[in-house]
C-alpha cells in the first residue's frame, strides 16, 4: 500500500509531468550537426577520371570509377561511384579531387581551408620579435608547449596554440606578445582611418579654442565614441573586435594638428618652396595661399618658416577606456619656444 502511495506521489510531481511532456521527439534526434561530414556527393559532369580519389581512399571497396556505355551522342561519362557500405566518410577523396569545381564534395574539410583553426578563436597569437626580451615567461606558462625558440627567436606554433591567452597576461613587455585579429586586415585599416579622420575633423572644428590657447596650457575635450560607432559596425560588424581595434589605435595615437589662420597671411610665399610635398601653392587669380590638406605631412616646416604666425601647430593625444568616451588633450607645440630660446 505504501508503495502505491509513493507511486501516486511520484507521478503527481510537476517535474515528472514536465519531463514527460518535453521528451525529445524522433525528428529532433535525427538532426545532424551543422559541421557533420556525411557521405560524399558526386557531381559526375566535372570528373576527369584521374583516379586520385580511389588512390587516397583508405577503404578498399568504397570508391570505384565507372564508365558509362558509349552511345551516338559521344563517349560515356567517367565518374566515381561511392559504396556507402564501405565508405568511412573521411573526406579524403573530396580533399584530393583536383577538379574545379570539385567532383566529390564531402562536408567541411579542414585541409581544403588552409586558415582552418580547430579552436574557434578570432585571434592569432604572435610574438613581436622587435619588442620581445626573450625572458621565456610565456614558454613556461604555455600549457601546450606551443612556444619554442627557432633561430634565437621565440615563435608560436599556430597548430599547437589553443588560444588560451595566458602568454599575453604573463608577458612583461606591453605589446611584445600580440593577440591580433588576422582575418580582416583591410577592414581594420579602414576602421583606423575612419577614427583618425573623425578625431582630426573634431579638433579642427574647434578653431577658436585653438587660436586662443595659451602656451603651457591644455585643451581638453570628451568626445563620445557613438558618433562613429554605427559606421564602425558597418565596416566590422562585431562589437568586441571593433572596440578593441579602435581603443588600441586611439590609445597610441598622437596627431599633429595644423591650424591655418589665413586672415593673418601677408602672401609672402615663404612657405611655398619650403613644403616638402608641394601641398602649399599660391593662387595668383585670387591672390591667396592654398593648402592641400590631404597631401600635408604635418611636418611643421611651414610653421617654423612663417614670420607672421599664420600657422599654428598643436599636438593632440587621446585615451579611450571602457566608458566609450575619447578623452582628447591638445597642447601647443613647444617648437617655437625652443627656437626663441636659441
Amino acid at each position: 500500500m505504501s508503495s502505491l502511495i509513493w507511486y501516486i506521489y511520484d507521478f503527481a510531481r510537476k517535474a515528472w509531468a514536465d519531463g514527460f511532456t518535453n521528451a525529445h521527439s524522433r525528428s529532433e534526434l535525427a538532426e545532424k550537426p551543422d559541421r557533420f561530414r556525411d557521405f560524399p556527393t558526386v557531381n559526375k559532369q566535372y570528373c576527369i577520371g584521374c583516379g586520385a580519389c580511389t588512390v587516397s581512399c583508405p577503404s578498399p571497396n568504397a570508391i570505384k570509377i565507372v564508365r558509362e556505355k558509349d552511345d551516338e551522342t559521344g563517349e560515356g561519362m567517367t565518374f566515381p561511384v561511392i559504396n556507402p557500405g564501405a565508405c568511412i566518410r573521411c573526406g579524403f577523396c573530396a580533399e584530393v579531387c583536383p577538379t574545379d569545381p570539385k567532383t566529390l564534395e564531402c562536408g567541411e574539410n579542414h585541409l581544403i581551408h588552409p586558415e582552418f583553426n580547430i579552436i574557434p578563436s578570432k585571434r592569432q597569437y604572435i610574438i613581436d620579435d622587435y619588442l620581445c626580451i626573450k625572458c621565456k615567461k610565456c614558454m613556461k606558462k604555455c600549457p601546450v608547449d606551443a612556444i619554442s625558440i627557432v633561430n634565437d627567436k621565440l615563435q608560436v606554433d599556430q597548430l599547437k596554440c589553443i588560444a588560451c591567452g595566458e602568454c599575453v597576461d604573463v608577458c612583461p613587455v606591453n605589446g611584445a606578445m600580440k593577440a591580433v585579429f588576422v582575418e580582416n586586415l583591410q577592414d581594420q585599416k579602414d576602421l583606423i582611418l575612419l577614427t583618425v579622420n573623425y578625431l582630426e575633423d573634431y579638433i579642427n572644428s574647434k578653431e577658436e579654442d585653438l587660436r586662443a590657447l595659451q602656451k603651457d596650457r591644455l585643451l581638453q575635450y570628451d568626445l563620445p565614441l557613438d558618433g562613429i560607432w554605427d559606421e564602425a559596425l558597418k565596416i566590422i560588424p562585431d562589437d568586441e573586435i571593433s572596440f578593441e581595434i579602435i581603443s588600441n589605435a586611439v590609445n597610441r595615437l598622437k596627431i599633429r594638428i595644423i591650424d591655418w589662420d589665413s586672415s593673418k597671411c601677408e602672401k609672402c610665399q615663404l612657405c611655398v618652396p619650403e613644403c616638402p610635398t608641394k601641398c602649399i601653392s599660391f593662387d595668383e587669380e585670387n591672390d591667396t595661399i592654398v593648402r592641400d590638406k590631404d597631401r600635408c605631412l604635418r611636418c611643421s616646416i611651414c610653421y617654423q618658416t612663417c614670420p607672421f604666425s599664420v600657422i599654428k601647430y598643436f599636438i593632440a593625444k587621446f585615451s579611450l577606456e571602457n566608458d566609450r568616451t575619447i578623452h582628447i588633450t591638445v597642447k601647443a607645440s613647444n617648437l617655437n619656444g625652443e627656437l626663441l630660446m636659441e
Binding site: 521528451a23 525529445h24 524522433r26 534526434l29 535525427a30 538532426e31 545532424k32 557533420f36 557521405f39 583508405p58 577503404s59 578498399p60 571497396n61 568504397a62 559504396n83 556507402p84 557500405g85 564501405a86 565508405c87 568511412i88 566518410r89
Partner: protein
C-alpha cells in the same frame, strides 16, 4: 485474432543483443550511446541484453574474423525465432578498412548468416542506428512471426 495480439506484443517490446564479431569497437560505443539519456532506447520499448537466447534482434558489428566464422552461426542459432539480424556499420557489409589485400577478415557477414538490414557508416550516428531499428525492427519481427515454418 491471436496473431494480431502476438503482433502487438512483438512490436512493442524488442530485445536486442549486440554481437561484436571482431570489430574496432567504434560501432559498439555508438550503440552504448543509444542507452544514454539523450537517445534513450528503452523509451521505444527496445531492451539491450548480452544474451542471444532472449534476443529478437541481433545487432552485428565488426568484420568477421577467423574465430568468429563458426561462433557467428552458433550465436545466430541460439536466438529464438522470430529473429532478425541488423548489420551495424560498414564492417559486416564489406569489411571496410580491414578488408585489405592479404587480410584475414571474412566479410561480408551475410556469407554466414542471413542479414536483414544494414546501416552504413563508420561508425553510423546513434540516431541513424535508432532510425533503422525503428523503421525495420517492429514490422519485420511481426512479419517473421507470421511466417509458416
Amino acid at each position: 485474432m491471436l496473431n494480431s495480439i502476438k503482433d502487438i506484443v512483438r512490436k512493442s517490446s524488442i530485445h536486442v543483443c549486440i554481437v561484436n564479431c571482431g570489430g574496432c569497437n567504434g560501432c559498439d560505443v555508438e550503440c552504448v550511446a543509444l542507452l544514454s539519456p539523450r537517445y534513450d532506447l528503452e523509451q521505444y520499448g527496445i531492451y539491450v541484453h548480452n544474451n542471444p537466447r532472449e534476443a529478437d534482434v541481433l545487432l552485428l558489428t565488426g568484420a568477421v574474423t577467423e574465430q568468429w566464422r563458426e561462433n557467428l552461426k552458433r550465436v545466430y542459432d541460439k536466438a529464438p525465432e522470430p529473429k532478425i539480424v541488423v548489420a551495424v556499420g560498414n564492417c559486416p557489409q564489406s569489411g571496410d578498412v580491414f578488408n585489405q589485400e592479404g587480410g584475414h577478415v571474412y566479410a561480408p557477414a551475410s556469407n554466414f548468416i542471413p542479414v536483414d538490414a544494414a546501416i552504413s557508416g563508420c561508425p553510423p550516428r546513434p540516431s541513424e542506428i535508432l532510425e533503422a531499428i525503428l523503421a525495420v525492427g517492429p514490422q519485420a519481427i511481426a512479419d517473421r512471426g507470421r511466417e509458416k515454418k
